[in-house]
């Protein structure tokens, strides 16, 4: 085989690669990315890696402290709760509710919101305005309150919570995508592409979309942290995920009674929630910083 790399060649990285390099230079972003990857992996493998069944009750090990405590047992790494259920298994299994379901909600909100936003951004006049402000009424109510209203009507269940959160996130996606496309649409390269005779679909997907990915990524991370927080908050209030399911917010609510007796029951799920949301926010923020940096250097 012919070796074409005889000379050292300094290649300037592509725009996406540049963002990745900027992110790599920021240790917090790297740590957040690794933590998030770890959490995702934990969520996907949760049925396989939980040491015990999360609902299994050990009558002889009620309120066992974590294993690093003097009276802890290595069998229950994070200790057990007041019903003798293994806390580690519950936290691992809970990631499906606290991370997986928000991901699904954000996915649906993103698909619907980006489609409507793109449609609004590519059209003009009354049509654009109508589409852009289609769901604006929702923005006037805080997301948690709207979720409460929907649950008050439909009754508390995970499905209704998902429905409420998806609905709340859609208008934000519509606005950010519409605004991003609107900003791009009047730039010269779009005119140049129009004079190339491209059709509207190609214009949207190949010409404009690569330039608004940053806005979309930022909006998605923002939506994801909102969704996680809302599902946990509703679980905490007893309106979302129902009691035996190991959702992190529900676990926090249950631990309130015994917070002085067994603080680990509150601290450990709270820590999981805190770290997940923190790492998502750090990641979103550093993506934004990396993009700003690239734009400044260009």
């Amino acid at each position: 085989m012919q070796n074409t790399k005889i000379y050292f060649q300094q290649r300037e990285p592509s725009p996406l690669r540049q963002i990745a390099l900027h992110m790599n230079a920021n240790p917090f972003a790297v740590a957040a990315a690794y933590f998030l990857a770890f959490a995702m992996l934990m969520m996907l493998l949760s049925p396989l890696i939980t040491p015990f069944n999360p609902d299994e009750q050990f009558a002889n090990a009620i309120l066992q402290p974590p294993s690093w405590h003097e009276s802890g047992e290595i069998r229950f790494l994070f200790g057990t709760d007041d019903l003798g259920r293994d806390l580690l298994s519950r936290i691992i299994a809970g990631s499906v509710y606290s991370l997986g379901y928000p991901l699904i909600a954000v996915f649906f909100a993103a698909v619907i919101g980006i489609s409507i936003g793109a449609w609004a951004g590519m059209s003009r006049g009354v049509q654009s305005s109508t589409l852009n402000h289609l769901l604006d009424v929702i923005l006037s109510i805080p997301s948690l309150l709207l979720a409460l209203v929907i649950i008050a009507i439909l009754g508390p269940s995970l499905l209704n919570v998902m429905f409420a959160i998806t609905l709340v996130l859609i208008p934000q996606f519509i606005h950010s995508v519409h605004n991003a496309i609107y900003d791009e649409r009047h730039k010269e390269y779009v005119t140049a592409s129009r004079l190339n005779g491209v059709n509207r679909w190609y214009m949207l997907t190949r010409v404009i979309f690569p330039n608004i990915t940053s806005a979309v990524v930022m909006q998605t991370t923002f939506a994801l942290s909102t969704a996680i927080l809302d599902i946990a908050a509703l679980g905490f209030l007893g309106l979302g995920v129902q009691a035996p399911a190991p959702e992190w917010g529900t676990m926090l609510a249950r631990s309130l009674d015994q917070v002085y007796v067994s603080p680990w029951m509150m601290v450990l799920p709270g820590l999981a929630l805190f770290l997940t949301i923190l790492s998502i926010n750090i990641l979103g923020d550093s993506v934004r910083a990396a993009i700003a940096e690239r734009v400044r250097n260009a």
Binding site: S14, P15, E188, T191, S193, L195, N196, G197, V207
Partner: protein, 266 residues
């Protein structure tokens, strides 16, 4: 000589809307007519804000005229879609970096007009882009480059490549050389003159620079405050021009004060 391009009374008005009141009409270009033959070069000169860029944009299709019609080989451009138009007229923008998509490689951008206007297979498209890159003095290696990796002169060459890749009959260059340093400017002008000889393209230049205009153009059109005040061959305008503005623009040694009233013949 056959008339390739015929511009009949095109004009452009902008409406400045302020609140609910009906807007004020602002005239950017008063009705203007001229013709251009095959292989000829027309230069449009004038002061800033005199409507010369507007003419260029209207001919290239970046803006629609308020009135008037443009004919190419007797066919009206107003009835054509952007897709049909770009097979005849292509434009080179003023700012080359801004007119290139920052997130797409040069090669993909050059393929774009080929996808929509030719029946070529992806392989033939790539070959044609490689040839075009060679024509404008770049390498086929530049196919995979992103616009920000190139120098400004190379970016300008990419823009020229994009204009000629469809082998159009007319290329409109809107102050395409203003931002370049003299040596690169000379290179690119020579390149465009070579291309004109090879491919028989008609050029429309919008330019400030007297030297370039004198060097390249067959005809000159002088604009002032949205009006065409003079149109003629380069020779005629340089030797015997009636308008003081024309002499001021073409002969920089001519001592002249820019008139503040609307036309120069008052």
């Amino acid at each position: 000589m056959s008339k390739l391009l015929e511009v009949r009374g095109i004009s452009k008005y902008y409406v400045h809307k302020d609140g609910w009141l009906p807007g004020k009409r602002v005239c950017a270009l008063e009705p203007t007519s001229f013709t251009l033959g095959r292989g000829e070069t027309l230069s449009i000169m004038g002061e800033t804000g005199s409507g010369k860029s507007t003419i260029a944009k209207i001919i290239a299709g970046a803006e629609r005229p308020s009135q008037g019609e443009i004919f190419i080989n007797g066919q009206s451009l107003n009835l054509m879609s952007d897709q049909q138009r770009c097979r005849h007229v292509r434009m080179i923008f003023q700012d080359s970096l801004r007119s290139l998509n920052p997130q797409t490689t040069v090669g993909k951008q050059l393929c774009e007009p080929l996808i929509f206007n030719t029946e070529l297979t992806p392989r033939q498209q790539k070959e044609r882009v490689h040839n075009t890159l060679r024509k404008v003095g770049l390498l086929p290696d530049h196919y995979d480059f992103y616009p920000h990796m190139l120098s400004s002169g190379q970016q300008q060459r990419v823009c020229i490549a994009r204009a000629i890749v469809l082998e159009p009959q007319i290329i409109v260059a809107d102050e395409a050389f203003a931002a370049l340093d003299p040596s690169i400017r000379a290179q690119i002008i020579n390149l465009m003159l070579d291309l004109q000889q090879d491919m028989g393209i008609s050029f429309i230049f919008v330019s400030h620079s007297t030297e370039i205009v004198k060097h390249v153009s067959d005809k000159i059109l002088i604009m002032h405050r949205g009006k065409m005040i003079e149109f003629g061959t380069t020779q005629a305008l340089i030797q015997q021009s009636e308008e003081p503005l024309t002499r001021a623009l073409l002969c920089s040694d001519y001592n002249y004060k820019v008139p503040l009233n609307s036309t120069t013949k008052e």
